[in-house]
Symmetry: C2
Subunit: 407 residues, 2 copies
């Protein structure tokens, strides 16, 4: 039987689990014995168009290397933000001719919303031209906003980092006997999942974050000031607030500091920042106490030193399973996590037609936010808690983690 060839790409923003999924695809392809060659494209579809294609079969010859890949943050193959245009048949046909030249049978793309758009457009165009190439999407994003999957690879680790960091900020806040307000800004353009993870910073020792504001609900400045005031008056001296970078007022305007940067990426996403700084100024004008804001920024994306073992394991598994799904003949699908109903947390791998997932956003349901709109409730806690379980033992050298070099 003729052996197959596959190619793998990574795209979008970094997470700590995307290389785990890459390791899973490599491991699955090797284990299947169905592939004579595994290619990687550097910098996603952009690199493919530039023939930046590498032979991964030659590089990953030992289990040790695959294991180190699994524990390396960001994208081993590099990333891109490149939007395919359905009408640009010149580019589409160029991609297919490159894939045909390399005799590619299966095309794996690991990424978020925008990467699933790439899978959608390539599989649609492939069907149009009767190409036998199978296009398989493997999800990843710290935003957890992909439709059709219980959660996304990379989210659990970012959530664990947020929970751990918020807990430590809480210790930082608690030491002075004076009132203070600390506002922490967390990533999430439209979806509040990662900000919600601040609620996991609750232990027997610490009662947790006081206020959590997600972008799904209109943000009301007066209500915010009332909420903070209520806590200062009735509960405790040091108020800790978690706020999504994407909070908007009821007219849909972002709450932010200074002018809008106006930078728009290839997918039309505007780069935002400053919700935390804006609330810091508002609170400082209103309250007679110390007010500060912290923007966790990119630290929450590549924080392998605080990864969730559950996340990395599942990300490997979903990558491995993608190979089986390709071999079964699927095309134009995204792999998914399905949470098995029951008391103990269990996940099985499923699939969804990429048309049902690409270019959609899964937001936090209103019922998972408390009535007052300033915290999350038990449903959210129960959903999030299993995703951050387990710690990943890293190899250290010279006091810092010994990650694999990126390509």
């Amino acid at each position: 039987m003729k052996k197959r060839r596959c190619i793998i790409g990574q795209s979008g923003g970094p997470t700590v689990a995307i290389n785990s999924s890459l390791a899973g695809v490599i491991d699955g392809a090797i284990a299947s014995s169905m592939y004579e060659r595994i290619y990687g494209m550097r910098n996603g579809i952009e690199g493919l168009l530039d023939l930046q294609i590498v032979n991964l079969s030659e590089r990953f010859t030992t289990l040790d290397l695959v294991e180190r890949l699994r524990k390396t943050p960001a994208m081993y193959l590099g990333s891109c933000r490149y939007k395919l245009d359905t009408n640009d048949t010149e580019t589409l046909s160029k991609i297919f001719s490159i894939l045909e030249n390399f005799q590619i049978d299966d095309f794996f793309y690991i990424g978020g919303n925008d990467s699933m758009d790439t899978i959608l457009k390539l599989s649609d165009y492939g069907k149009q031209i009767d190409s036998p190439i199978r296009f398989i999407g493997i999800p990843k994003t710290i935003d957890n906003d992909l439709v059709g999957t219980d959660h996304t690879p990379g989210f659990g680790s970012a959530a664990k980092y947020i929970a751990t960091t918020m807990l430590e900020v809480m210790y930082d806040c608690a030491i002075y006997n004076k009132p203070s307000i600390t506002i922490v800004e967390i990533m999430g353009r439209n979806a509040g999942w990662l900000t919600a993870a601040a609620a996991l910073a609750k232990t027997e020792a610490m009662e947790g974050v006081d206020l959590i504001y997600l972008p799904e609900l209109a943000f009301d400045v007066d209500q915010f000031l009332n909420d903070v005031d209520y806590i200062l008056q009735t509960k405790k001296k040091q108020v800790l607030v978690a706020v999504s970078e994407g909070i908007k007022d009821k007219k849909g305007n972002y709450i932010q500091d200074g002018e809008i940067s106006g930078q728009v990426d290839a997918f039309g996403h505007i780069s935002r920042s400053g919700a935390g700084k804006a609330l810091e100024k508002i609170a400082a004008n209103h309250f007679q106490c110390k007010v500060r804001s912290v923007e966790i920024n990119v630290l929450q994306r590549s924080c392998m030193h605080c990864a969730s073992e559950t996340d990395l394991k599942e990300a490997f598994l979903i990558g491995r399973s993608a190979v089986g799904k390709a071999l079964e003949g699927n095309n134009g699908i995204m792999l998914t996590y399905e949470r098995v109903p029951g008391n103990s947390y269990q996940v099985r791998i499923g699939t969804v037609d990429v048309h049902e997932s690409a270019n959609k956003e899964r937001l936090v349901p209103r019922e998972w936010i408390n009535k007052e709109g300033n915290h999350v409730n038990g449903t959210m806690i129960n959903y999030l808690t299993p995703l951050i379980q387990g710690e990943v033992m890293l190899e250290y050298k010279g006091g810092v983690p010994s990650y694999l070099p990126l390509m």
Copy 2:
């Protein structure tokens, strides 16, 4: 023989090692069998004046609790920023009468520059009034700026966190095939030690941070733009810059974004921030590429999840040794680390007269900075490297570290 009584306080900003030193004092006092009671003052000298005094002998009855204390960030006893005034004999004599009421023989204070000022004033006043109470200072600060000690407890862990985080930011930067400039602002009012630790983010896989600017040298905006340009032109596409919060131009003005906050603490320190944001704007106006800034902020102070084992061990040892120094009859001293000359890293505990340390700052020597003033050299690397060695295994519960509750 009459048993002794001691009291311990913590003061200043949090570190991850200050509870390790507290655990060391408790452990040393118990082990010596010389003490019938160990007291703690809540919120430092401020709490002492309010009679916020707790019996630590009753609380720390098991080794397990002492061990958990060792691995809990920030201040178990709470902190304060309270400046004693030599002329305010009313307050000074009130402190002594409280200490006498509690029959205190030995007074331990764990803190930075300002806390050593407290030890200085109390021991001076005590000598004046012929008090037999012994005042012992135990250093701590992430700034590493105390005079008389090779390094300070808490610095090694903050440095390890900075190195690890910078390494991960480097992975975050490296994924796109486009030029970019990332500026990371690191704490350090006048001393650049912690910013220098960014240089440790260098592995076989990653060539390290490109530019490092310390507050010890006058910052020249044109030189900065030239430095970045040189790297973009000759070396690599993604430039990573570490900059101290305290950089100043040659006239001594802070490089910062927006107006000075003007907030001044009890010790006259002005709260600063925005050097990173200021450089981001300057670079964005000059270069045609993506520019971003990250302020690590308080995350570098309470990051127990990324602590240096060397740091925590030494911090415990210096706390333990403080007890012996008190029992030997010392008064008005600060404990110190002395690095033993030789090829392998070894530290022994010494002491210094607190007059030689309080209200002074140890800055980075010019010879430890490279000739161009935009990085550190091998002497600095050799000095820093041993301090971040070893990882601390924490107990996790529910996915987050199980730290001891603060008092």
